[in-house]
């Protein structure tokens, strides 16, 4: 098979897949996480293409970029090298991959609410079995259906049978495809093979492309005439539910009942950290006694405005938490010098220098444009020739010199504005801003990898907490969570009042109760708005508008409380998988826990987690031809 393999090309892949059962040759990889790839034969036998299933363990390919088909980087600037991306070649790859030709696979079964997929040979013996670590096998099954002749058993809708090409059912289906005249549309195949992982981003893009292809296939223009569109709608309405159900029986209710979170505890906000509390924590040399206690108090109630200015310097890593009073005095002196030295660097540029330094000049012009559009409704920044705007600009320009690689990115002025408003001191504000930027740097990087990751993580968390809503968003072209972009880029700066944003940020800066707590707050808001979001089949446009218009209407204290409750639900969940843990900075505990997740008490597991038992009984798999509900009706409905 190794040699034959060269004649195949990859046409589909999905990541995050745990090998649960395998032939003896690959038993050592059981419980390893890897990637499933489907290959098609390169030979143009058209209808008689061959397909091959491959699974390979994870450490071979770590490519963080492939899932983001929507995020094709279009900037002209050289991408910065990222240690986590890129392919690490491994000379032993071939020996570690599990490859099975689809000639041998005769059927497959979907179990555990779509989270487990098992392949069988002609005598109904298990060939291999996989657990889908995040999400389910819907996309993979869909891809298989696109290319193989597949029917379902009437008695067991979870069992799929792969037909030989000479079976009468196949011939009939083929005819209907021919009549549709879009079977060989390669663009269609192209997007199927682009569906990556359970990354909803991938599938989202794919679905959107389908609509385009369907339009263009049917009448050759982007504007389908009404007859075509109506016909299309009718046939889809008739078929829609049936197909979805036969394809993924558990798509609707399955996800939500796959497991349940423990009940949510109610939390309330406490009083802000007061001056007395703060002072009582300082020893004679001005050192804080119990930093964790302080941080916890801040998380629970924020900081009283009277000491905010001082406390933020700690929260933003300008002052080390362990510093003494005199150390801080010395530090401020040093930092002051450093700041003004950097400021002088750009202030002393001549006009000529600037003209010869296009990169710099562009940044400067961007800063000027944004400063003029930053919080101008606040009295502090209002009016023409406002001195504070000048300071805002000076700090941002000095930051450009401090971190020239990053430069100025839109949104930064939003992050600086409340800091300067509070500090009222250019130098202090600068160093606090540096501390804030260090926390959110990845949001602003040129490849936007940080933002992509956050949006993906947000969806993973939402899927864990409210799978129905998460699924709804995917089905309504919102799985990429783009509509939360502004929330995450500037930490809700545009959604909250100045006072609220300050109270919110200081909570987030504590790092309690977990990292990325702002994502849980986002989950809390989405869940809070779930009825509105899912109302009247809202789609992408409506959802974006709705979310944008939440600006100024959020009860952030309530959302923090809810998010805290959600955190404890997740943390206490028996089913917490390793796809969620790292997002919140919780230790990854290996795959054992995942098994308990997969085999939730809500259904009887028919696969032993040890992988030594046969997957299911022979009677379950063997089916007679009259039981087969072949889905040829699908084709003819479009005729």
């Amino acid at each position: 098979m190794e040699d034959e393999f060269d004649d195949y090309q990859e046409c589909f892949s999905q990541e995050g897949i745990l090998l649960k059962e395998a032939p003896p040759s690959h038993e050592t990889y059981i419980d390893s996480i890897g990637i499933i790839i489907i290959h098609e034969s390169k030979k143009d036998g058209e209808d008689l293409k061959k397909f091959m299933l491959e699974w390979k363990p994870n450490d071979i390919t770590i490519d963080s970029d492939v899932q983001y088909q929507e995020w094709a980087v279009v900037n002209t600037v050289q991408k910065r090298y990222r240690t986590l991306s890129g392919t690490i070649p491994d000379p032993h790859v071939k020996f570690r991959c599990l490859k099975i030709n689809f000639d041998i696979i005769k059927s497959f079964k979907v179990q555990n609410k779509g989270r487990q997929l098992t392949f069988y040979d002609g005598s109904s013996e298990v060939l291999c079995s996989f657990l889908f670590q995040c999400g389910n096998c819907d996309v993979l099954v869909a891809a298989l259906k696109t290319h193989l002749r597949i029917g379902t058993s009437k008695r067991d809708r979870q069992l799929y049978v792969i037909y030989d090409s000479d079976s009468p059912e196949y011939q009939q289906l083929n005819k209907s495809f021919a009549a549709l005249n879009i079977k060989h549309d390669h663009s269609l195949w192209d997007f199927v093979k682009n569906i990556k992982d359970n990354s909803y981003e991938g599938s989202l893009g794919a679905f959107a492309k389908v609509t385009n292809i369907v339009f263009s296939s049917l009448d050759g223009t982007r504007y389908p005439d009404e007859i075509t569109k109506d016909d299309l709608n009718n046939s889809i309405t008739e078929l829609g539910d049936e197909i979805v159900h036969s394809m993924a029986p558990s798509l609707e209710d399955g996800v939500s009942s796959a497991f349940q979170l423990p009940p949510r505890k109610e939390f309330v906000r406490c009083n802000p950290l007061t001056e007395e509390q703060w002072d009582s924590q300082l020893n004679s040399s001005g050192q804080l006694e119990d930093v964790d206690d302080i941080k916890m108090s801040i998380f629970k109630g924020g900081v009283h405005p009277s000491i905010r200015k001082e406390v933020w310097k700690f929260l933003l890593d300008y002052y080390p938490w362990s510093s003494t009073h005199s150390e801080r005095q010395a530090l401020v002196k040093v930092k002051r010098d450093e700041y003004y030295r950097m400021k002088l660097q750009w202030k002393s540029f001549s006009k000529q220098q600037e003209n010869n330094f296009l990169d710099y000049a562009q940044r400067k012009s961007l800063v000027e444009k944004d400063v003029a559009r930053t919080d101008r409704t606040l009295e502090f920044y209002a009016g023409d020739n406002n001195i504070n705007l000048q300071t805002l600009k000076d700090i941002l320009m000095t930051y450009v010199m401090y971190n020239f690689d990053l430069g100025y990115v839109q949104g930064m002025s939003d992050l600086l504005s409340p800091i300067l408003w509070l500090m009222l001191d250019e130098c202090d504000a600068f160093w606090c801003f540096v501390g804030f930027m260090d926390k959110v740097m990845s949001n602003f990087e040129i490849d936007q990898a940080g933002m992509k990751e956050q949006l993906t993580n947000l969806h993973v968390l939402l899927n864990f907490v409210d799978p129905k809503l998460a699924n709804y968003l995917v089905e309504h072209e919102c799985g990429n969570m783009f509509f939360c972009f502004r929330w995450l880029l500037v930490w809700f700066k545009r959604e909250l009042s100045q006072e609220d944003v300050m109270r919110f940020w200081e909570v987030l800066w504590t790092g309690y109760p977990c990292q990325n707590f702002h994502l849980l707050v986002s989950v809390a808001i989405l869940e809070h708005e779930r009825n509105a979001l899912m109302e009247e089949e809202r789609g992408f446009t409506e959802i974006l508008k709705y979310i944008n218009e939440l600006s100024g209407k959020l009860d952030i204290s309530l959302m923090i409380c809810k998010a805290e409750g959600i955190f404890h639900q997740i943390n206490d969940s028996d089913y917490l998988s390793d796809s969620v843990r790292p997002i919140l900075g919780l230790p990854v505990i290996g795959t054992n826990n995942l098994d308990s997740h997969e085999q939730s008490p809500f259904e009887s597991p028919d696969i032993s987690s040890t992988g030594t038992q046969p997957c299911c009984s022979v009677e379950n798999v063997r089916i007679s031809p009259d039981e087969i509900a072949y889905e040829d009706s699908i084709g003819s409905n479009f005729l």
Partner: protein, 208 residues
Amino acid sequence: MAKTYDYLFKLLLIGDSGVGKTCVLFRFSEDAFNTTFISTIGIDFKIRTIDLDGKKIKLQIWDTAGQERFRTITTAYYRGAMGIMLVYDITNEKSFENIKNWIRNIEENASADVEKMLLGNKCELEEKRQVSKERGEQLAVEYGIKFIETSAKASIRVEDAFFTLARDIKTKMEKKLEASNPPKGGHKLTPTEPMKKPTSWLSRCTLL
């Protein structure tokens, strides 16, 4: 639900940051100008329904963030756009030079037959002008698109610009509809109409 319009057009505003996209859109949708405006983060849209030759046309106009780095997110919205306003600032040479890049960006991300229009904004700032009207016209000719100089602040020709673009899209669309199918009664559907049963699209794709 009764339809209050005959057509829905999805339009897009693109161009460098600070050229006045958001202000142009605000002028068109609310007929106002506000100097305290914030910069655009991410993406948003506004709606205005206009009357054009007896047809009610709902314009859904998308406003994007201009900085290069965010193009990764903004280009995701090019899909399905039927008209694109390319905006530059007549007082900013660089924003005019960048129009070429924006056009390339459109070619890579938007549908090939999208209607385009070039807009030179801030035209009331005559004393600060860096890009002559002739250069704007010339560039438009080069790309075979229409050109208008506008001012969101002084409310100059903003209406004209959107009406012109909408009319061109309408003409093109009706021509296509006629070519493929003689007109009939009832409402027309446009590709950007919200899909009522998106799951069916999904299922459809799995079957093809």
